[in-house]
Structures are given as C-alpha cells and as structure tokens.
Symmetry: C2
Subunit: 425 residues, 2 copies
Amino acid sequence: MAKVTGLTCLKCGRRHGAGEFILCPDCGLDGILDVEYDYDAIKHSLRRNPLRGRAERSIWRYADMLPTSGLGSDMPEAGVAQSGGGLGGAAGLRIGWTPLYKFPRLGRAARHENLYIKDDTGNPSASLKDRASAVAVAMALEAGASGIACASTGNAASSLAVVSASVGLESYIFVPKTIPGPKLYQIGACAEGIFRVDGTYEDAFEVATAAIERWGWHNRNCGINPYLVEGKKTCSLEIYEQLGYRVPDWVVVPVGDGCIISGQWKAFKELRLLGETACVPRMLAVQAEGAKPIVDAFLAGGDVVPVKASTIADSIRVGQPRNWRKALRAVRESNGSAVSVSDREIVEAMLLLGKRAGVFAEPAGATGLAGLMKAVTTGLVAPEEVAVVLVTGSGLKDPSSLEKEIKICDVGRDLASVERCLRSR
Amino acid sequence: MAKVTGLTCLKCGRRHGAGEFILCPDCGLDGILDVEYDYDAIKHSLRRNPLRGRAERSIWRYADMLPTSGLGSDMPEAGVAQSGGGLGGAAGLRIGWTPLYKFPRLGRAARHENLYIKDDTGNPSASLKDRASAVAVAMALEAGASGIACASTGNAASSLAVVSASVGLESYIFVPKTIPGPKLYQIGACAEGIFRVDGTYEDAFEVATAAIERWGWHNRNCGINPYLVEGKKTCSLEIYEQLGYRVPDWVVVPVGDGCIISGQWKAFKELRLLGETACVPRMLAVQAEGAKPIVDAFLAGGDVVPVKASTIADSIRVGQPRNWRKALRAVRESNGSAVSVSDREIVEAMLLLGKRAGVFAEPAGATGLAGLMKAVTTGLVAPEEVAVVLVTGSGLKDPSSLEKEIKICDVGRDLASVERCLRSR
C-alpha cells in the first residue's frame, strides 16, 4: 500500500514524487517537505474500519494514516506478548496512546477549568519524540537500511537509540560536547554508537549529515526528515479520540525546531480533510523568552530571524529552528497565536504540574502550561474554551533544573524539628 | 463492598479483623499481615464480568480483587479524559497495564529464547511502586486521611508524591541525607512536604513512624502497610492476561524488602484459588551479592539474618528486609529459588536490556535479568520454560550508574575520526 502520493517543498512549492527525496533538492536544508497522501484511500480505510472501533492502543492504531507500509490496524496489541506486532512487523516497544488527563485542582490553579493535559512522559524513552522515531525506524527497516543516525542534544537521540534497539536496527548518535550526563547515559545504554563531537550542536549536525551520506544510514535528523512530523501527528489523533471524538478549541505546544506543533496541526487538518471532523483547533505556540524566533516572526508577520538561544528549557533551546515554515504555517493557518514565557514562569509551571497533577515534566515539557496561563491572563484564551496542553518530556531527563526551586526541610531525628517545618510552610 | 475478610500475622498466625490494624499488635514491626478476601464474592464477580472481557487498562481493571472499595471495573478508561475514573472516584494518573514484551534478540543474547520482559518503567513515576501507591492513596482517601507519609530512599517516595498529587492528597516524604539528586527533585516537585533527616534510612523510617502517629497521616511505609502488596500483585495479573491467559513457568523478581515478589506470588495463588488457573509459576528471587539476606536465608533454610548492604542497585540495597517472611514464603511455597548476582552482572544486564531491547532500566530494574541468566547457566531454568522477568524501574532514576560503562567515541568535526571509531569497535 503506497499511500504517500507526493512531497511538496514548503519554500518553493515544487512537488516531488514519494520516496525520491527527504529534502527539496532545489532548496537544500531550507527545503523542508510536506507529506501528502492518497486521502481517498484513507477515507475508504476509515469507512471500513472506523477509528472508534479499533483495538490497538499505540501509534499503530493510525497505521493507515502514516507513511509506513505493511502495517495494518488489525495487528496484535502493541506491548502484549504475542507474535510480532509493532514496527514494520518486528516486535517493538509500545509507543503512544498516552493518557489525556483532566485534573480539576490543576485547572483551578492555572485559572482555566477547561484544561486537559496530554502526558507524553510515559513513552518508552520518556518523551513525545518516540512517536517520530518509531515512524523513522519503521521506514528505515522497510528500506533495508544498515543503520539510522541523527544529531541531537537529547530527546530525539535517546528516543532513536531506544526505539532502534528494540527492533535490532543499529543507531548512530552524534551529540555535542555539552550534553548533560543523564541523557548521555540513556543514549549510551541503548545506541550502537555514540559520537561526542568536539563542538556545538550545529557541528554535530554537520558531522552527522556527512556520516549519513558516507555510510548510507537512514536520516532521522529533526527538521530534515519530513516523515518525523507524520509520527508526531499521532498525538493529536489520540487527543481527538480521547476527548470523545471532539476537537478542542486550543492545542498548546512548546516549540523549538517547530516539528511537534507542525505534526499536531497536520493531524487536525487531515481529520477535517478526511471528513472525520468539521472544525479544527487553534494552535498556540509557546517558546521561552530566551529562544523565541518563531514567536517573533509570528508577531512581526514575517520569516524567522535566527537568534542566540538561552533558556533552562534545554529541549526547546533552539535559536535557528529548522522547521519554522511548517510551525508558522500551523499557527497562521489555524488562526492561532504564539506567546513566550520566562524561565521563572516555566519553573512555576513545572511545580504546578507536579504538585497539582503529579506530572513531573522537564522544563520544555512544562512550557506549554506556562504559555496557556499567560494566554488566559491576557484573554487570548477564553474561560469556556477547551485547551489541551502537551507535556512533551519527563522531568527525570533534566531533574537538576529544579535544584534551586525545591523547598526541602532539613530535620533532625526528633519530631520537634518536623513540627517547626510544618508550621513554617 | 467490604471484600477484605481479615488480616493474618505472618509471624504468630493470629487473625485480625479487616481495618483494625496494619501491623499485628502482638508482634510489632515484625508482625507483617497478609490480606484475605471473600473469595466467593470475587468468584461471583469474575463470573459476571470475566477478566478477558474487561475494557479498563490500568490496575483498576482488577478492582474486584483489590482492597479498595467503591471501584468497579466498569469505570471510564483510566487516562482518557472523561468524568472521573481512577482513584477512589477522583481522577488520577493511569497506572499499570504496562507492556509485556518478547524481544527475540534479547532472548538469544540472554541464552533463553522463552524470555519475556514485563516493563514497568513507563508507569507515571517510572517504577512499579506506583501500583502500591495507588492502592495506598485510594485507601487513604476512603478513610478520609488528612495526608499520607512514608520514609524511602527513592522509588516508593517519588511514587507516593506523584500519585498523591494527582488526586489532591497531601504527601509527606522522609528521606535520608544520602538520597541522590534526581530522586530528590522528582519528590520535591510533587510532594507537599519533603523532610531530609539527618541520618540513615533507618533514622528516616523512625522519624516518619513517629510523625505518622503524631499527625494521623496514612502510613505508606513499605513492609508495614499490608495493602501495598495487594497493589503490586496487579503486575502478575497483567502478566497472566498478556501471556494469553497462560501461567509462566518462572517469574523472576529483583528483591530488596521483599514486597514485590510477595505481590507477584499472591496474584498467582489467588488466580488458582479463584479457579482461573490450575497451576502456579515458580518464583525466582534475585538479589545483589552485596545485599542478599533473603538468598542466604533461602539457601540455609532458616530465617533472615540482617547484613550490611552494599551494591550499585540502590533500590534493592536492603540489609534488613522488612517483608522477608512473605518473600521467603513466596519462594518456598512456589517451589522457587533464589540467586544472587554481582554488580558487574547487573551492569551487563542493563546494557543487554538497553542494546537488545531498548529498555533502559535502573540497576535494580535489570537485576532480574542478571539473575535469570545465572539460573539458565546453572540449569535451574530449563530452555523450554517460559520465564517472565520484571523490570521494576527506569534507568533515568539512576543514570550515573552507567557512567564508567558507556563507550563514547570522542570525535572531531571530520569524518576520519568517526571512521576510526567505527573500525575500532
């Protein structure tokens, strides 16, 4: 089933055949492609096998809306030990169908009762990136690739290492010298090869690109491989189903390179195109104040101008986003908006998520909540509007960000010191 | 529905009424209780609503086999935003129904093709302990407790903080001075109060016990509260279902205090008692060489003698296990066995799990696999026997344990140095 019908360049608009390129040859690194499908075939598949009747609870529930072939939505349940099931026929990790929560106490604290949390921290590598890695790995297996590679500062890399290892595909990860320990060890425990490049993320990216070319590995670089966005869109397909087949008013997304928000928007656009829904949500892009080129471009009504990035939110510390065209299109087409939040607001959102919901997010993972709270304060998001906030990664990946924020009571071996602490709170 | 009919002391054998005590008043800290149910009522419930027809995919799938009241297995799906669903009627985190995997490459590397991995790293706090915390928190809510507390060095504490926060129950966590940073921050992000006691784990335990008495909090101390084992048994109820309603030959469990293995054994005993299954598995207890009082007691055929514990496997670094009677009973009654493994074998199991399955486990989480591999080598576990290994916690909770084990290739910005690394592997 060759469902991908073509790839259109976001910059020059030229259309390429399926499988020919992963970047527009005329536009180079700036020529990110958009994946198009045979939507009539998908409509037929959805009529024959409607979403609400499907048993599979992983991203492969949406196999007929993804670019991978050979996967049916009638496969054995992912993560339940039966023959096969998972990635391209190989047994693989269970990815997706993460919970959508409504926590009334969090809603009250955030001053928005219509607040839902889409919690992607429970994916195998503890971030949303697994959705993209799964699609990339399945396509690499289908193409018979000898290995798969990427450059990354963290989540994309650990995700690729974990998902590849689960199906026996060799992964080669290029990281910059500055990568924090926990992420390095997670990658190192699972990857076939980990290369620490003497330089910045951009240097690692260049070495990775050259190595991919030289050794013929599959390319999982974010903002290059257009199929990654396809994997990410499963998150919003789930939101639609888990809301009881309703479309929220807002989907709130932390934005770095711009791939995640692009995937969420594509999901809802395709649901409308397929006749599943009549309306689409507005997309709210949230960036950290110290790394907000996409917010700036949205407010200025122009293109992205690279900035020097600085924020505690490691996973969205991106000064030169690679997928900015798709991200800006998502915001503009959806009649959405873009806001930025301070590191202080991000930390406060982390603590709110923890103490009011028990969801431990990394700084980037809590940035969406901080942005929604700002949008509620300014009146951009109205009280009656349903807002779904994506929590994209676990706090365990970057726990030290809370080092100075945690109030610890140091006590002796007596109750008196405990009582003093309890009183002083 | 008051399904608990009584609690029997494992030491003196005396039977107490439901809800009277959480420890045998005659035996004190040594008087761990065993929870008994009205099994006829459960049989009736299972006939009316058989396991294989249930829709819920969380620990509340087994509500009629748990000590909590007021929970039906016909509740809305956990983690799907609908009204309520979860803990005692309050919305709560989705816990349990974690994947059971069969990874052929891992099976070959571990020299046991009939190997299954029960991966509990994807629970909300990234460990199996969430199953126990959920039951404790639900019971605390039912009892109208003002708060819940425990002393812990890590997973039990972060689990309690996370699960409590999700339903608005205040949690008070007592930790020893030596707790590592990542665990401290996860707890601190979610708990109502975190008390760092100037002393050892035993000191923290004593202060916690006194504080629980003083302020009337619910007691979630491991190896004290007998209902925690009930939550943990859901893991093996899932294994039975996910294996296609078959009982494995072996269930392999890392053992510290002894609560987890006790829960797994109780699940299978109860399935047999309820007429669901005709047979039970053998339990294989695995401890680290530097902390193996239960292995020693099993081999000597006697009671546990406390030892000074030392191992990299933080979560099972227990020299004086509190629930040793239940753990030894599980091994002996099941005609099981107990083995110990070196820290080196634990690290090798971590790397095997990572590179052959994409499962990133903390050292204690990989200890089961190390133990199975030893048992396969000695012939204790035969090739044709189905062995399920529990992976109890995520490597993200203790990533630095791999610091010296990860082989990182330091490269320049040229392909030549990458090529040298690839060749030298």
